[in-house]
């Protein structure tokens, strides 16, 4: 049976997905639901390929690592299959561990550009309607903290403050007139007008 091939490209990176449609679900001929093989090609780097069970963890590793990188946390991701850590601000060190015995781990150093190209290839795969793949961790990721609050409603404090300041300043202003009023002088004046 001829297998379907789908290619996702982004500048220096390309991701090839090989597989078959699930005919039991009445899928189209060009659909891929049963992935048999995938190949990730980064220009000037060794080819990365594997089975379907490796694709999910590798995609998750890249997504989690890119999140850590941006969020100013320690950018290190370690698992049984793949380790990614930052050498410096521009170079990322990837160690791919083979599931087969006596196979040495593969070391690849990629730059920020290759990292963003790879993430974009994975995004294309996630968004493709032609490939059915389990959603990655990243897409289900919900932020834990919200540091800045948006102005959704008119706040009670903002509503009450202007009239409060207005009344307070009126009281303060009028109370200053107390210094200009001398009740003793006023009494003398009244006595002069009405000598009785």
């Amino acid at each position: 049976m001829i297998q379907n091939k789908l290619l996702f490209n982004q500048s220096s990176v390309s991701l090839e997905i090989i597989g078959l449609p699930d005919y039991s679900n009445n899928e189209n001929k060009d659909q891929i639901s049963i992935i048999s093989q995938w190949k990730l090609t980064i220009v000037d780097k060794p080819l990365i390929e594997g089975k379907i069970e490796h694709l999910g963890p590798i995609m998750n590793a890249f997504y989690i690592y890119s999140n850590l990188l941006i969020k100013n946390e320690v950018p290190i991701y370690e698992s049984k299959l793949i380790d990614i850590k930052a050498d410096n601000l521009y170079i990322h060190n990837i160690v791919l561990k083979s599931s087969k015995p006596n196979v040495k781990p593969l070391n690849i150093k990629i730059g920020n550009t290759s990292l963003s190209d790879t993430i974009n290839c994975f995004d294309q795969l996630n968004e493709s309607s032609k490939v059915s793949i389990k959603k990655s961790v990243e897409s289900n990721y919900i932020p834990k903290k919200v540091r800045f609050v948006l102005n959704n409603k008119v706040k009670f404090f903002d509503f009450i403050m202007p009239p409060f300041i207005a009344i307070f300043s009126l009281i303060l202003f009028s109370s200053s007139f107390i210094y200009f009023y001398n009740p003793l002088k006023d009494k003398e004046k009244n006595e002069l007008i009405n000598p009785e």
Binding site: L69, L89, Y90, N112, I119, N120, P143
Partner: protein, 111 residues
């Protein structure tokens, strides 16, 4: 941080609109963003691109931001601003897909 005497709080709709504009612009500018990031990777060969970008970035910050603020001064310091610029460019480059809007929103909420 902005050079303004009025403190306007951003509304959710305005916030979403700004994110949409940013994502669309980063889709369009992705090749340029990529080149700037690449120039920093091999600075000996492509130092001109990075230096030009950094110079223009500082010019725009001076023009539009409150330079007296400590946070803005950090952006202007050429020795310190590398990390901020690279992370900002990386964030933009990760958000060029169709789901870029949701991604950038998540990144910003978590910032």
């Amino acid at each position: 941080m902005r050079k303004s005497f009025v403190k306007n709080k951003i509304r959710p709709k305005e916030f979403d609109a700004l994110i949409k504009i940013t994502v669309e612009m980063s889709k369009y500018l992705y090749p340029y963003i990529r080149e700037i990031l690449k120039s920093k990777e091999d600075i000996k060969e492509n130092s001109i691109i990075w230096n030009d970008f950094n110079k223009r970035f500082i010019e725009l910050i001076k023009e539009r931001f409150n330079v007296d603020s400590m946070r803005v001064q950090k952006l202007l310091n050429q020795a310190e601003n590398d990390e901020i610029i690279i992370k900002s460019l990386l964030t933009l480059s990760f958000c060029i897909s169709n789901q870029g809007f949701q991604k950038l929103k998540k990144f910003l909420y978590d910032f």
